[in-house]
């Protein structure tokens, strides 16, 4: 049971957090033929764009209302209208997702009102999906923006079923949180389909940001869930939500369509994967395919092989709440102790983390705590690299952004197989770090008791 505290300081140093609008943009990017539009100044979009480009190493569709100083003062209706019309004319999208920013929220632009007015003035857009989400930069974090965007997509796009009692029990809605990679989503899709079920993911970045080479050039998203498919989600028998921040969307979907939901706080690790498989067995009425029986055995074996290396590690982890709980808990299961946990935003699940305290703070806090607690494993996004270097501890990159390695989209950490591979990756990282840094010499144990009294880590291991 963790205590949640806020870092009490005025200056955030080496931020862990990213802003809401780009979280919303990521959610919009999981829709087919979508153009995310940030209502703000050009920089609001371009920073987000660069961040996603560096992370996914892909062309990223993202537009801006390019608010000028005058427009910011007078109100941005014209900029929004122009942006929408230009985007439609130039890129022929199937949907535009509009996220507000700090600039336009401070001004207090009524974007819902703008959209009504745009439709009045341009009747041909009456049925064109324009989904707006309010995501001021100055509250919440990336995960919150993603959450709000998915709720709004459910509100705006899902059709209320004509006959609520008639459900397609083979159809399953999946609401994956922002902590899942395209690879995770593909893995989850495969698992669900293996039980004879037909999942619809909202959003589905597995099909848009998975780094495939498209057949032709598309200025919008190159894949993802279609607007029509989202509309039909009301007919599905079940909804699976992944991550606490998907609860609001799951509840909105349930309220609208009557489809019951099951929320999985975690999908990484043995217990979490067991829970998923058990649920799929239940709703599909099928036995688990042999493949998962084998994979489960492999994961158990990997846990046993991996515990020698991960067990006893003092973990410093910085991640958004749902990833923090998912990955932190799994490493805790493997015998690592969470000594330093930093996150970006409040969430009811933070207190479930197996540690004393979760700090809503920045990477400076994480680095300081990691140093104080003598942590010897760091897990956070790529901006943790400087801290890892200064602390000289093994560093596993996880989350967005991951700009200094390739293949971020295809990292998988869910299910039996993903959890198994995550163990190998982290354990191997620890082994490699030990090989590179532990040089046992005739002087290593010259004064072992002093080191023991000071609690200093003394090299005790050597790998071969």
């Amino acid at each position: 049971m963790a205590k949640v505290s806020h870092a009490k300081k005025s200056c955030s140093v080496n931020p862990l957090k990213m802003s809401q609008p780009i979280g919303a943009a990521l959610a919009f990017m999981g829709l087919r033929g979508c153009m995310p539009l940030l209502h703000g100044s050009q920089g609001c979009t371009s920073f987000g764009l660069v961040l996603f480009v560096r992370h996914f190493k892909e062309a990223i569709p993202m537009q801006t209302t390019a608010m000028s100083e005058v427009a910011t003062v007078l109100g941005g209706f014209e900029n929004v209208e122009q942006a929408v019309l230009n985007i439609i004319q130039r890129t022929k999208p199937e949907i535009i997702g509009i996220a507000t920013t700090g600039v336009t929220e401070t001004k207090g632009d009524d974007v819902d009102g703008f959209i009504r007015l745009i439709r009045q003035r341009n009747p041909e857009l009456n049925d064109f999906p324009l989904v707006h989400v309010s995501t001021p930069d100055f509250t919440g974090a990336f995960q919150d923006g993603f959450e709000k965007a998915v709720v709004r997509l459910v509100d705006e796009l899902v059709r209320e079923p004509e006959n609520a009692a008639q459900k397609n029990m083979r159809a399953v809605n999946v609401l994956p949180g922002s902590h899942l990679t395209p690879g995770d989503i593909e893995e989850l899709r495969t698992i669900i389909e293996d039980f004879g079920l037909a999942p619809t993911f909202l959003p589905d970045i597995g099909q848009s940001l998975d780094g495939h080479i498209p057949d032709d050039f598309t200025p919008t998203t190159i894949g993802g869930v279609g607007v029509d498919e989202v509309a039909a989600m009301g007919e599905a028998g079940w909804t699976i939500a992944v991550g606490e921040h998907m609860r609001a969307a799951a509840e909105a979907l349930q309220a609208k369509t009557g489809a019951p939901y099951r929320l999985f706080e975690k999908l990484c690790g043995l217990e979490a994967s067991d829970a998923l498989i058990a649920f799929l067995m239940e709703i599909s009425g099928r036995e688990a395919p042999a493949k998962y029986r084998r994979q489960r055995g492999q994961l158990v074996d990997a846990m046993l092989d991996g515990h020698f290396h991960i067990g006893g590690r003092k973990l410093a982890i910085g991640a958004e709440p749902d990833m923090l709980l998912d990955i932190g808990s799994f490493l805790n299961d493997m015998g690592a102790r969470i000594e330093a946990a930093v996150t970006t935003t409040a969430s009811p699940i933070l207190q479930k983390l197996e540690t004393d305290e979760v700090v809503i703070g920045d990477l400076e806090d994480l680095e300081r705590l990691a140093g104080e607690k003598g942590c010897d494993l760091l897990v956070t996004h790529s901006h943790g690299r400087q801290a890892a270097e200064r602390l000289n501890i093994p560093f596993y990159r996880m989350g967005i952004p991951m700009f200094d390695r390739i293949g971020a989209a295809h990292e998988v950490s869910i299910g039996y197989r993903g959890s198994r591979d995550l163990i190998f990756k982290i354990a191997n990282l620890i082994i490699a770090h030990r090989e590179a840094n532990t040089h046992v010499t005739p002087d290593t144990w010259r004064n072992p008791w002093d080191a023991e009294a000071n609690g200093a880590a003394i090299a005790t291991s050597f790998s071969h």
């Binding site: 058990a278 515990h307 015998g335 023991e452 291991s461 050597f462 071969h464």
Partner: protein, 559 residues
């Protein structure tokens, strides 16, 4: 001397206490378990020789043979060097079909030349393997020619794998040192505090947990055979004043022959365990003083031992609240066992599986042997039975050698390696504290609860564990219903693993008049292998009169 006469010489080792009890005929058969086709798991003589010599860090170790011998096995040992890294560079002649047909001697000679040109090591050790031995490559002659030509020691280590097991290879490696290396170089200077350490391989660098104490006492390690060893050190080791033979009888021939040739006294000691470390330091001091060192050395040794013991026990006591009452199943052979037991008892662990209650010195030998026997039995155990044993013992953790690791892990039993293949140093005073910490770390890992959870598709009673227990219960029931079968099963229980002698055969021998373990051995061959089961045989004898009918056939192992 030919390989076979060398082997006979090694088998005649009078320094070996086990050997002394053997008949001439038994000695001829060798000191180790006879290899059983289809039932052997250990390494070959080449493997053993390489293990013994490879820690010499500045030497080029050249393996003469096809790629299997070296290519499949190189860089897999955890010895540590404080300087040269050449020992980790792999050299092999990689014999091809052509070499087999035309002979590999020229290639071997050229290989020596290349190594000297490229690496210029102080010496080359050339290991003979099976194939070149079979085609008659004379590595002795090649080494001699190369030594002369390049003016550099090129040492033949004649250990083709087929001559025997790993243990024999250790000894043959020692013979190579005695024949070609030791005594060939004079040390720059000598002191009355010079010692040799034999059979210490500095795995995980753990010898450096002890060396600072020797440094502090002014005791100089003239040569360590072979952990972090150097060629010139071992070549001048004949000038040491005393030898400590660590933990293993594997190279006893070296220690004894050095005593014979150079008058260097030796003792068997261990740096595993708090008490054992103190004992070894004191014994070293005693031997050095006997040979002329200043007697005040003993006072300093006593002071250091007292200080270190106090520190170690204080550190262990601090861990006590975390581990008190946890049950440890300790399964290991060798002399490390007792040291480990003493430290664990001190930390508040409870020992299960082996009857260790008192910690008096008189029990020591007996416990050592008992645990040796347990380790032996575990190796031959079915996973199913092992699982039951772990469950019945209600142990929290099992400590054993690497071989039973996977069975323990598959039975989701916390397990810690305390033998050689591990990565952590457990030597000296500090090492024992390390061990207790490692056990604590393993025990407190939540992973064990996680992996024991049933799968989503598990049906009650259908896990392999439950099936195994049910199967065992069923078999026991069947036996209970059939006294003849039960008796048969009881008698079929193996006692001597090496010679495959059952409890029934031993009882029959006793009934036939054998009254001592030696007499039982005469009749059944039991305890004629590793000797670990002698203590069990004594127990059977102690139980008194054997009841039941003698059987017609006495299961005597083939002579």
């Amino acid at each position: 001397m030919s390989v076979s006469s060398k082997i006979q010489d090694v088998f005649n080792e009078p320094g070996c206490s086990k050997n002394a009890n053997k008949s001439t005929k038994e000695k001829k058969k060798g000191c180790t378990k006879q290899l059983q086709p289809g039932g052997a798991a250990g390494g070959c003589a080449f493997d053993g020789a390489k293990i013994a010599l490879q820690p010499f860090a500045d030497v080029a170790h050249l393996v003469h043979g096809p790629i299997a011998c070296e290519g499949n096995s190189w860089d897999n040992r955890g010895s540590a060097s404080s300087g040269p890294t050449l020992w980790r560079t792999s050299f092999t002649t990689d014999m091809t079909e052509q070499d087999v047909v035309f002979g590999g001697e020229k290639k071997l000679f050229k290989a020596c030349k290349e190594i000297i040109e490229k690496y210029d090591p102080p010496a080359i050790f050339v290991y003979q393997t099976c194939v070149p031995a079979m085609i008659g490559d004379d590595i002795g002659a090649v080494c001699k020619a190369a030594s002369q030509k390049f003016n550099k020691p090129v040492i033949p280590v004649n250990v083709p794998g087929f001559v025997g097991p790993k243990n024999l290879g250790n000894k043959l490696a020692g013979e190579a040192l005695l024949d070609y290396v030791i005594g060939t170089v004079e040390p720059e200077y000598t002191t009355p505090y010079d010692i040799n350490i034999i059979g210490e391989f500095n795995l995980a660098g753990e010898f450096w947990q002890v060396k600072p104490l020797l440094d502090e006492l002014g005791i100089r390690i003239l040569s360590c055979i072979s952990g972090d060893g150097r060629y010139n050190e071992v070549a001048s080791s004949h000038r040491a004043r005393a030898t400590m033979m660590v933990c293993s009888k594997a190279m006893i021939n070296v220690a004894r022959k050095m005593e014979e040739r150079y008058g260097i006294p030796f003792f068997e000691g261990s740096f595993y365990g708090i008490e054992d470390t103190s004992d070894s330091l004191k014994e070293l001091a005693r031997l050095l003083i006997e040979r002329g060192a200043d007697p005040e050395l003993m006072d300093r040794v006593n002071a250091v031992c007292e200080r270190e013991e106090k520190r170690a026990y204080a550190a262990i006591a601090a861990l006590k609240p975390r581990v008190q009452g946890k049950k440890v199943l300790l399964i290991t052979g060798g002399v490390k066992s007792w040291s480990v037991v003493a430290a664990l008892l001190e930390a508040g662990f409870e020992m299960v599986g082996t009857s260790v209650k008192k910690s008096t010195r008189e029990d020591k030998e007996r416990i050592k042997e008992l645990m040796g026997q347990d380790a032996h039995m575990i190796e031959d155990m079915k996973p199913r039975d092992m699982y039951k044993m772990l469950r019945d013992a209600k142990a929290d953790i099992m400590l054993s050698g690497g071989r039973s690791q996977f069975v323990a892990l598959k039975a989701t039993m916390p397990w810690l390696d305390i033998n050689q293949e591990r990565h952590h140093g457990y030597m000296g005073y500090f090492g024992m504290v390390n061990l207790v910490k490692e056990i604590d770390r393993t025990l407190s890992n939540p992973v064990w609860q996680k992996v024991r959870k049933p799968a989503p598709w598990a049906k009650v009673g259908d896990s392999w564990q439950e099936r195994a227990l049910a199967q065992i219960a069923q078999e026991q029931e069947a036996l209970a219903a059939d006294p003849a079968k039960a008796e048969e099963a009881r008698r079929a229980k193996p006692v001597c693993m090496c010679k495959g002698v059952t409890l029934g055969a031993i009882e029959d021998a006793i009934r036939d008049g054998a009254a001592t373990p030696e007499a039982v051995k005469e009749k059944t061959a039991a305890s004629g292998g590793c000797g670990a089961c002698a203590v069990r045989i004594q127990e059977i004898l102690d139980q008194g009169a054997i009841v039941g009918q003698p059987t017609q056939t006495i299961n005597v192992a083939a002579e």
